[in-house]
Amino acid sequence: MKILCVLLPHFPLSCEILRHPEFEGRPIAITLSEGSQKLVLDYSPELKGLQRDMPIQQALAMYGEIELIHADVPHYWAVFNEILDALELKSPLVEGVELGDIYIGIDGLQSIYKNNDILVSAMQESVPATFNARIGIAEGKFAAYLAALNSPQGGYKVLAGDTNTFLKNLPCDLLPISIKSRVKLHDFGLHTLSHIALMSPAKLQAQFGPEGQLIWELANGRDDTPLYPRLTEETIEESTTLDSITLSLDLILMTLESMLSKAFVRLGQKGMGISSITIWTRSWVSQYWEQNVRFKEPAMNTRTAMSRIKQFIENVPQPGPVEQLGMKITGTGRPHGKQKSLMSQVRAQEHLLEEIKQLELRVGHPLLFERKEVEPWSRIPERRYILAPSNQ
């Protein structure tokens, strides 16, 4: 499948610059809290040596005077989704894997866009120029990603025909595999894709398991990873600005309840309930709070939904006095059918074994076996275990 990859380097930083133009040219690191740790999500391109997911202490040790900004991930995703929406007008097959990485299926678009220049400029129109989109076209996602990575600023790169020559000297760090496997590849002296391509797949499999096969295939320019286009979901969004800033939980819950009631009027007509909902608040100092609430079974009315939402809101306190409040219903569903237990009786296991014994007596030979150890230490493989009748 022919894929067009759009890479938006330093996407979170570009979003911040779009919102606050004064950040342009300043040394900035965007941080994200993960548990008790603060990690680098993105940074100004001139800060060489910084890496994504690096602990913030390590980044500060390298550059003491950088400005730290706390990541506003929902905002980044909102901007990213807008870009994906715009790209979907050009091709129906658009996949947004991570912030800034987009894959587009372009098979069959030749009848609309006569050549690659027209196709690429149509795609570029959908992405604001601030994001410095890099575009690559190739067969398969990995090759398209590498092409985009090596494309000229403002231009694009097409990989056609024999991709192996292009892949040859690229570092193995570009492979979409775990960091542990990358380190292991370097430990084995396999620093470039050509080093890996020369290995036998069996040896890589022996060292890396199933990932070894993937490593070998990607290094040889073979990539069957399917494209997972975005699914269109109906979302219901409601938000309100409170008359006065508040810390009162009751007031927040009451406002949410009234918004939910409105949503249930629309959902109720279709016999649908809520399976997941995102609740967000913004405090008067623009601190953002967001929680995603999932329901094991779709909540079919306001009361059921509120009892679960209340638990969440009570357990995760607001960062400050709330000024704005909103909700987004991200998943809807119908009530689940209930499957009755096949083994409703107590001691079901014994009953089942008894039934099997009856059946075995009828057919005259055992039907159910279990593996038993005989000589698990034996050097002779067939002496280690046997299958013995379960009902013996």
Binding site: A202, E382, I386
Partner: protein, 94 residues
Amino acid sequence: MVKDTGKTLYTGTFKPVNAPEAVEVYESPTGLPVALKTKSKQAIVSIDGKWRIDDEWWRAEPLSRMYYAVILSSGRRVVIYKDITQRRWYRQSY
């Protein structure tokens, strides 16, 4: 309810696990495996490892096997062994 007739139901009903499966192997003049016949003839591109097992020497038919972990042309790794007393080849997971 089926009557229990008192018949012994389970004699000789144990089943082996990982029993060796006879295969046809083409040998080189020195006795090393060069190709394996499964559905079609598949060349053996390399021998990944080999080891010998001699056991049960006190029995009438002692056990003597030469195991080879081989890589087929398709890239698959297979373990085969040659029964040295019977001079026959088998495939078995190890």
